[in-house]
């Protein structure tokens, strides 16, 4: 069968079954304290067909999550559906009561929430939380009952159901099943080498609590065992599993290795990716027809994101589950979904087949999204402003600099890192953990060096050592040819003036008690630059520089969005005219459009002022837009160091290729009109 006829057959079936979810002219309002209605979603329509992936794309506040939550009947606080219709399998559900929704959730609709950290209860074992999902839908009782029935029937010749996909393999029967299978293969006359291959395959595929009777029979038949024998083995050995087997089976379906052990662990023993997998297994535990995934991987590294989404795709395909996928990344949406719905300011602005939307965006907002998506851009941002255009402006900024500063030897490399190693003591362990292991690189003046790696690769530790917020165990960091470990007093303050950080978390890096003015003024105050008047002038200049209105001076960080706070953080870092800015995941927490804006700002500043950036990120797509050189780190070690083009065109290491592979939508071509 070719792909196109496959798709046609699929479409014919979907057409016949009709949409599983049909949302028409949906309107959602939130009531504020002062009884004002805020229209979060206006006249939005979209539909999802069985087995389909549909993506809702939009920036934060576009109403994409609100639409999904309205479908699930889980609108937060004062939100309520005020108009339109939501039909699940043809049945109008928007007017349902809480009780009625409880019947739907889990069995008909499942949810994979956004933040894995806050959506699992830290005091309960993972397995218990999966069990809870099963219990809520009485799947645990029926599961045990069915298992008992299947066990009772196994002795006799009665067929339970021809296509019973509810009879799972139990861990107690696994060994017996494998023995029987080996024997059957021998009887069937399968050659020894092929037999071993098949047995290895069976050992991997037959997961207790997940593998069903008919799939075991099917596997055996495909391996060459005759039908009757295969079914006889399947019936006698696959006789239902315990609930614990089922829980482990569900977790292992979601891609957790050693699921039985993992099920007994607590959330804090899991990494972010593993938590997300646990949430996926909870969302799919009761085999819903529709899974709503609300930015399921936004908090994760791109490589983990790719692995999890790949796995989720295979899993939902094999279960025939439709997925409503919510994301802010158009590239990711286009790669994963067949149909895209673009939302902006609470309205659907464009929708259609994903590739068509991507390649021929019509609405200006969609065009903007396509232009900003880092995954799709394949060029370094070229700043519109060239070097040296800003003589006059620059001079006015320079007058704030403290006079009499010692003239430094201006070498080509502004920061050089040599054999940097940092060890940490782990709790309850004797041996030290090497977070950074013999890393050397140097940052050329006026260029951007990106350090790329997954979380735990030690890249942020390197950044902190370059900033001298951490002392290296061994190795040196030199700034302008001098070892920074030797700095103290005035020289240290001077170093602080010239090397500035911008941190990842835009909500944490500004003091919530400080006005924007005080935050930006702080470095000037610490370094006793100018008097109150000139400082105020300088803050105004800095705000202009990051393209923020001067009126935000008297505001507090909680009134600004993540991207705006990040721009304030950049303004603060720029206050003392630094030479080097260390950006530690500075754009990772931002929506694509805002991310693009901040990257362009950083780039303009570099072009204007000849800044050097040390840019820490997990996202290679961003690297391509901003970096000249790339250092790839894995497990604390430097695995590859080359120019950006070199890394993208001829990656040398397997790991770098994995990272490149993981860029969402990286291989999709676009046609920007």
């Amino acid at each position: 069968m070719t792909t196109s006829s496959n798709a046609e057959a699929m479409a014919a079936m979907q057409r016949q079954q009709g949409p599983i979810l049909e949302v028409k002219d949906l309107q959602v309002d939130f009531t504020t304290d002062s009884n004002r209605a805020v229209h979060a979603v206006r006249d939005s329509s979209f539909s999802v067909y069985p087995g389909q992936w549909v993506a809702i794309v939009g920036e934060s506040g576009s109403g994409k999550s609100t639409s999904a939550m309205a479908v699930l009947g889980l609108l937060a606080g004062t939100g309520h559906v005020v108009g339109g219709s939501i039909k699940l399998e043809g049945e109008e559900i928007s007017g349902f009561s809480r009780k009625q929704y409880e019947q739907l959730l889990g069995k008909k609709m499942g949810l994979v929430p956004q933040d894995p950290m806050s959506n699992l209860n830290p005091v309960w074992r993972i397995g218990t939380q999966v069990r809870e999902a099963l219990q809520a839908n009485h799947m645990d009782i029926s599961h045990e009952k069915r298992s008992a029935l299947a066990k009772a029937l196994a002795g006799t010749d009665v067929t339970v159901k021809t296509n019973d996909d509810e009879t799972f393999l139990g861990s107690a029967q696994l060994q017996g099943l494998l023995d029987d299978a080996r024997q059957a293969l021998e009887t069937a006359g399968v050659p020894a080498q092929r037999r071993e291959e098949l047995m290895t395959g069976f050992t991997q595929a037959w997961v207790p609590g997940s593998e069903t009777r008919w799939r075991v029979a099917d596997d055996l038949i495909k391996a060459g065992v005759d039908d009757d024998r295969a079914w006889a083995i399947a019936k006698s050995r696959v006789v239902g599993s315990t609930l614990n087997d089922r829980i482990a089976g569900l977790l292992s379906e979601a891609g957790l290795p050693e699921a039985a052990t993992r099920a007994r662990q607590f959330p804090h023993e899991f990494s972010g990716g593993m938590l997300q997998r646990a949430l996926i297994s909870i969302g799919l535990a009761c085999r819903p027809d529709l899974l709503i995934a609300d930015e399921p991987t936004s908090a994760l590294d791109v490589t983990v994101q790719k692995r999890i989404l790949d796995h989720l795709h295979t899993l939902t395909d094999s279960l025939g589950t439709a997925v409503l996928f919510i994301t802010h990344d158009l590239g990711l949406a286009a790669e994963r979904a067949q149909h895209i719905v673009v939302m902006y300011k609470g309205r659907v602005v464009e929708s259609g087949p994903s590739l068509e939307v991507l390649q021929h965006p019509q609405h200006p907002y969609t065009k903007r999204l396509v232009a900003a998506a880092p995954s799709l851009a394949s060029q370094r941002i070229i700043s519109a402003k060239a070097h040296g255009e800003h003589g006059a402006e620059l001079a006015s900024l320079m007058e704030h600099q403290v006079k009499g500063e010692e003239v430094l030897d201006k070498g080509e490399h502004i920061i050089t890192v040599e054999h940097l190693t940092r060890e940490f003591k782990l709790p309850r362990r004797r041996e030290m953990f090497k977070a950074v292991d013999d890393v050397s690189f140097s940052l050329k003046r006026g260029t951007t060096l990106a350090i790329v790696g997954e979380s735990g690769s030690g890249k942020s530790t390197v950044a902190n050592m370059v900033l001298r917020l951490l002392t290296p165990t061994s190795g040196t960091v030199t700034y302008e040819g001098e070892d920074i470990a030797g700095f103290s007093g005035k020289r240290m303050l001077d170093f602080r003036r010239h090397v500035q950080p911008v941190f990842q978390n835009p909500y944490g890096s500004l003091d919530p008690m400080y006005t924007i003015y005080r935050s930006i003024e702080e470095p000037l105050r610490i370094h006793h630059v100018g008097d109150a008047k000139s400082r105020e002038r300088r803050v105004a200049e800095l705000l202009d520089m990051v393209k923020m209105p001067r009126s935000v001076m008297q505001r507090y960080p909680n009134e600004l969005s993540g991207g705006q706070r990040q721009r304030i953080a950049i303004a603060r870092a720029m206050a003392l005219n630094p030479d080097v800015i260390v950006c530690d995941e500075a754009v990772s927490a931002l929506d694509v459009l805002v991310q693009d804006q901040v990257l362009r700002l950083l780039n303009d500043l570099q072009a204007e002022r000849g800044l050097s950036y040390l840019f820490i990120t997990h996202d290679l797509a961003v690297v391509r837009q901003i970096a000249d050189e790339v250092v790839v780190m894995q497990h604390g070690r430097l695995v590859e160091h080359a120019t950006t083009d070199e890394v993208f065109d001829h990656p040398k290491m397997e790991y770098t290729r994995d990272l490149l592979e993981a860029i969402p939508g990286g291989h999709l071509s676009l046609g920007l009109d």
């Binding site: 602005v349 259609g352 200006p364 903007r368 944490g508």
Partner: protein, 334 residues
């Protein structure tokens, strides 16, 4: 037949040709909204029209709408006014007692009648306000300073400094307030100053504030803006006073306002027991103690200072609750 298959295969083998007319299902046709429906705005623009807010401004807005706050604030303003200007309410000297009038009923200008000693109950109740309110407010302020400083140092420096300071706190926490106060106050029986009460209450009351301060300093010292400040060249101590402590103040203030009422009660209790202020200082606790002997025959003499005490304590506790609601970080929008 075979030829056709080959052609299809070769087509499929070609590098992805994504525009191969996708199958479109009903309800999923291409849709583009008219532009005027959602005019495009600048990326991430600042809403300059939005009213400016800060934590304190937000808290004030929440407070203003809270009936609990309005009632308690009105009461407290009244109580403080009475404490500051008792002469406005009565011209009678509270220490002028005429035994002839012992236990006389209310008369014009003496609405609450006279006590056993023949003193004006109204005047004594009015003048007693000053003692109670000053003890409450002074103790609260002193506890705030002592507890916050010790707690902040313990939380900020951690390590052995924290270990020492925390054990000292534990020791003081283990001593019951009244027991400790009785022992210490025995030594200063002769002094009539309210400061001795304030100091004793502070000595045994700072521990809860220390705990809270230590906890919230530990919490806020790990926030990123401190690292950012350090990288700007700020010293650790500057961070502590400029960033960490202001961010810890909310929870400390909540504890302080709520405990203000209990200090007033403690003062009354100590005076009632006769180890607090001497009888020459007018205080509700002392008056309640004096009135208890005649409770059966003249309950009203005990009633007035008790009610005054109850209302004052209630007002401060209600204020504490309202402040707690307003400053509760969970009820605030990020």
């Amino acid at each position: 037949m075979t030829d056709e298959t080959i052609i299809t295969n070769s087509q499929a083998a070609e590098p992805a040709n994504p525009v191969a007319a996708p199958v479109v299902l009903k309800g999923q046709e291409r849709f583009v909204a008219p532009l005027d429906e959602t005019p495009l705005q600048d990326v991430d623009s600042v809403d300059e029209a939005a009213p400016a807010t800060s934590m304190w401004a937000d808290a004030w807005r929440t407070l203003r709408r809270n009936p609990l706050f309005i009632v308690s604030a009105v009461l407290i303003v009244l109580i403080v006014f009475v404490a500051l200007f008792p002469k406005v309410f009565t011209r009678q000297d509270p220490n002028f007692c005429d035994l002839n009038k012992s236990l006389s009923d209310a008369a014009s200008g003496h609405p609450f009648g006279y006590d056993l000693q023949g003193c004006d109950v109204f005047a004594r109740t009015v003048y007693g306000t000053r003692t109670s309110v000053s003890v409450g407010i002074l103790t609260t302020l002193l506890v705030l300073v002592v507890g916050t400083l010790i707690g902040a140092f313990a939380g900020f420096f951690a390590g052995w400094i924290d270990a020492v300071l925390s054990r000292v706190t534990d020791i003081f926490m283990a001593i019951p307030l009244l027991l400790g106060a009785i022992v210490v106050l025995q030594m200063f029986r002769t002094s009539s100053s309210i400061w001795k009460i304030v100091l004793v209450l502070t000595l045994f009351g700072w521990t809860s504030t220390e705990r809270i301060a230590r906890g919230s300093v530990m919490e806020s010292k790990n926030l990123e803006f401190n690292t950012a400040s350090t990288a700007l060249g700020s010293t650790p101590l500057r961070n502590l006073f400029r960033h960490i402590m202001p961010n810890s103040m909310a929870s400390i203030i909540v504890v302080s306002t709520t405990s203000l009422g209990t200090y007033i009660v403690s003062e009354a209790t100590l005076s009632f027991l006769g180890i607090g202020l001497p009888s020459t200082t007018v205080s509700w606790g002392g008056d309640i103690a004096n009135a208890q002997t005649i409770l059966r025959t003249n309950p009203m003499v005990l009633f007035y200072p008790s009610v005054a005490l109850a209302i004052t304590v209630l007002a401060f506790i209600m204020l504490g609750d309202a402040v707690k609601d307003a400053l509760n970080p969970k009820s605030r929008t990020a």
